[in-house]
């Protein structure tokens, strides 16, 4: 069961958790022991095999009144219940079964006594923005220390109780033991004493061989709630007396309402009111887009009322924007000299001296996030000036500050409860949809839930930027690449937050472009200009999507030009194992990581290439029309390679199998690492085969899954994930699997048809 951090309004008998106080719901949970609360624990916990789930022992208290709270993340009651706060948002990446096991491990807590409490948005927890594949990467040591602190205090408490030396005592699986006498005290029994002790500064962390949960496959803490339909996503949040709203927005970003008539809308049974929301000024940032909100007694009435609205819009300056024209402009920009980003050697001379040159222009379209749960938020602006929110947010602190600003009140007045997210992929880092709910709730004086339709989600996304890239390479007589020019052009995410932005930020270029690992003596990297006419945002792996695509697809083309094996050629481009820290200035490397902790090592990239190739049976003969393609990419300080086995028949491509090798350093839950790679393959195939958003006269042309299709099960290959055992600090997992998928597929197609694919999504006409 999903525990919110704060007491929830205790109001009615409705069977959802938002209507129960925590006490109530824990009582009910106790009655339903085993059915809703099975989390599982390890039997034979030191092995890597799947554990046998044990019935969760229901909690008797709450986090708030736990006797011993050594820090913000842990509460232990006299009864021995362990509450662990998950400060990161769960959107399917598995953090609720990632963060708590790390803390529980160092705490030596028994997993069937652990209750996961979802944190509200609050800066006291430090960073909560769940994006950038950084939860474990950034916080692993901090979480271990939190757990180890509590464990050390239990040991001290027991030693003091027995009047023995601490060194004679050991904490193990929820008890402290006195080794000499075999005496034991449980964590519950020790909680009150531990609470009186000083918190140690530097508790000793466990060694790797002592890990109980970390690196073991753990069963998902929300599995049971999900499969029984009791899990609460943002769209499921309810309050007594709440109203439902749906917002009609101007189809063009920057436009606003000219005239409107609400008569027919108000005639729909259940429709209560139509509330104008002021148009957002540009840049759009996290503001509500503005428009007309239809407020009703249920979602359906709100949708119908919206359809019945009569609205005329001032479309504003972006109404002349068209994808076709824009594409040509970007292509012009990509094929003319751009802003110089990095130059190594003498590219012009090397190109002149090359035995052969290859050039290519690549297009990757605009993409929408399409999480299965569209944006939604339940907000309640109360008479006392406070506001309480339930929403599926990746960044609850941004929700809090944005809402406080909107309402003109102190952040302390805003409470943000984080529900489960029905997918995020970067969309739910932006709180524009929450701002809508807040404005409407304030206007109607009741709790209001805003539900975006699928059409809203696709039309009013913060899109992945469309891009055009120019690549040129010079090959010597032996076919070795000696010169490389790469110009990348795409509208920057910065344009969402600032006006007059026409080039990429260095952060965006660091996503696969300036981190190019290829060992080429002459290289020039440039960035072409591009302006934004829609809201641009970050989508799972962000600019690594387009940069990972071109680096690998062009490598495939060069292998072909050189008449060489694709994998061997990729390895030659990557070059010998070496350290690439010199690509960065100062101490900070890729993704803001400390270079001494996360050096950029091509040996690790080579290794995943070799591993994926070996597991896929690279080099074996395949039937006619079949081939393997390979691609590898470094992102979020992890290294991933995919080998795709595809076939082309009658102008149709079929993906049979994907072998994925991932080196993410130390991992917590290998089952979730695998799941993220599986999901990344599906995500990557969707963008390779289907995804494309276009704009005509400023308005997005696609609207639902018929014209923005996602990969379906019958198109899904077998997926085999191979995790590299590596004790380096943890790298990212949620995103790095995505970038190499599309190029591994196009590289396979290249080997079958001999024709390079330079535009996504892959068009059937290119396969004949």
């Amino acid at each position: 069961m999903f525990l919110f951090e704060q007491e929830l309004p205790d109001t009615s008998e409705r069977p959802t958790i938002v209507n129960m106080s925590r006490r109530d719901f824990l009582k009910r949970t106790a009655l339903a022991a085993g059915s809703t609360f099975v989390l599982g624990a390890f039997i034979g916990c030191r092995s890597k095999t799947e554990f046998v789930p044990e019935t969760k022992i229901p909690a008797q208290g709450t986090m708030a009144d736990a006797a011993f709270q050594p820090n913000l993340l842990i509460g232990i009651s006299d009864a021995g219940d362990v509450f662990i706060v998950c400060t990161r948002s769960e959107m399917g990446q598995g953090i609720r079964t990632g963060m708590p096991p790390v803390i529980a491990d160092e705490l030596e807590a028994s997993w069937n006594r652990v209750h996961v409490v979802q944190a509200d948005g609050d800066p006291k927890y430090g960073d909560q923005n769940t994006d950038g594949s950084r939860s474990v990467r950034k916080h692993f040591d901090e979480w271990r220390k939190a757990g180890a602190t509590a464990r050390a205090m239990f040991v001290t408490a027991a030693a003091q109780t027995w009047g023995v030396a601490e060194s004679e005592c050991v904490a193990e699986n929820h008890v402290v033991k006195h080794m000499a006498t075999g005496r034991e005290l449980g964590y519950g029994e020790l909680a009150a004493t531990a609470a009186t002790l000083e918190v140690p500064e530097n508790p000793t962390l466990k060694s790797r061989d002592q890990w109980r949960y970390i690196t073991k496959p753990m069963r998902g803490v929300d599995n049971r709630d999900i499969v029984t339909g009791t899990a609460v996503f943002g769209i499921d949040a309810q309050l007594p007396g709440m109203l439902y709203a749906s917002v009609e927005r101007c189809p063009v970003i920057g436009g606003k309402v000219k005239t409107y008539d609400t008569k027919s809308a108000l005639a729909i049974p259940g429709v209560r009111q139509v509330i104008p929301i002021p148009a957002a000024t540009l840049p759009p940032a996290f503001n509500a887009l503005g428009g007309l909100a239809v407020v009703a007694e249920n979602t359906w009435a709100a949708f119908k009322g919206r359809e019945a609205l009569e609205v005329e819009w001032h479309l504003g300056p972006n109404a002349t924007h068209n994808s076709e024209v824009y594409r040509n402009e970007m292509e012009k920009s990509a094929t003319s000299p751009g802003r110089e980003i990095r130059t190594v050697g003498d590219v012009t001379r090397a190109m002149n001296e090359a035995a052969k040159t290859v050039e290519a222009v690549y297009h990757v379209p605009m993409l929408a996030h399409a999480p299965m749960e569209p944006p939604s938020a339940l907000a309640w602006v109360k008479k006392d000036g406070t506001c309480e929110i339930w929403t599926p947010s990746q960044d609850p602190q941004a929700v809090r500050t944005t809402v406080a600003e909107t309402l003109g009140v102190e952040v302390e007045k805003i409470t943000v409860h984080v529900t489960l997210l029905g997918g995020g992929f970067g969309r739910k880092s932006k709180p524009d949809y929450v701002v809508e709910a807040v404005l409407i709730s304030k206007a109607v004086g009741a709790p209001v839930k805003v539900t975006w339709t699928r059409e809203d989600e696709i039309r009013f996304d913060y899109f992945h930027a469309p891009s055009v890239q120019y690549l040129q390479a010079g090959l010597d007589a032996q076919g070795k690449t000696t010169a490389w020019v790469h110009r990348t052009t795409f509208p920057s995410i910065s344009s969402t937050f600032r006006t007059n932005v026409d080039h990429a930020s260095s952060g965006e270029l660091g996503l696969g472009f300036t981190t190019n690992p290829y060992n080429i003596p002459n290289m020039r990297l440039e960035n072409g200009a591009a302006e934004a006419h829609v809201r641009i945002g970050w989508l799972r792996s962000v600019c690594n999507i387009q940069h990972g695509f071109t680096l690998n697809a062009f490598a495939g083309e060069l292998a072909q030009a050189a008449g060489r094996d694709q994998k061997d050629y990729l390895l030659e481009l990557i070059g010998p194992p070496r350290n690439l820290n010199s690509l960065f200035e100062g101490d900070k490397g890729a993704y803001g990581e400390d270079l001494s902790r996360h050096p950029y090592e091509t040996g690790r990239l080579r290794h995943v290439v070799e591993l994926a190739a070996e597991k896929a049976g690279w080099g074996k003969d395949r039937p006619k029309g079949h081939a393997l393609g390979i691609a590898a990419h470094f992102s979020f300080v992890s290294y991933v390679a995919h080998v795709v086995h595809a076939s082309v028949k009658d102008g149709k491509v079929r993906v049979h199998r994907v072998d994925c090798a991932v080196d993410c350093g130390t991992y917590v839950n290998p089952d979730r690492v695998k799941a993220q790679m599986e999901g990344s393959v599906v995500f990557g195939l969707t963008l390779a085969l289907h995804g494309k958003i276009t704009v005509s006269s400023g308005a997005v042309e696609q609207s639902n899954f018929h014209d923005y299709p996602l990969l379906r099960i019958n198109e899904t290959p077998e997926i085999h994930v191979h995790i590299v055992e590596n004790q380096s600090p943890p790298g990212g997992v949620g995103e790095p699997g995505v970038p190499p998928v599309a190029p591994a597929l196009t590289n396979a197609i290249l080997r079958i048809t001999g024709k390079p694919i330079r535009e996504l999504p892959i068009r059937l006409s290119e396969l004949s």
């Binding site: 959802t16 399409a370 299965m372 997926i719």
Partner: protein
Amino acid sequence: MSNLLQTVSTFALKVNGEVRTVEASPDMPLLWVLRDLMRLTGTKYGCGIGLCGACTIHLDGEAIRSCSTPISAAVGKEVTTIEGLSIDGTHPLQLAWDELNVSQCGYCQTGQIMTAASWMREKENPTPQAIDGYQSGNLCRCGTYTRIRAAIVRATEIEGR
């Protein structure tokens, strides 16, 4: 729009074995009847036009898209939602889904399970083709498809076929 559809009527529906009475326009899709009027939120909205399967429920045992089925079509029939698939969450599919950690975000999974539960009742041994065929109407943006395949096979083992 006809006046008829603008009129709210009283409907008595049998949902998960229990008769429940609601006031709704006859064109209100079962999805919103279940979610907003009956507070059964396990059935999800994903597209509203029959393309994603997130809203799948059973009408007289058969899987249907509740987003595209008006309340008037359910009168006199048995409606089953994920909340009523089993009394205690121990349908073989629910157990298999848990065991194999199928869910990522979990949002699509109630629909996936309801789809599978309906066709598996008749299918003796689910072949890979059958699984892909029957489940192809259910989208999962998180990409859990390979585990859905495995869990359906596992469910038949749990069922002791």
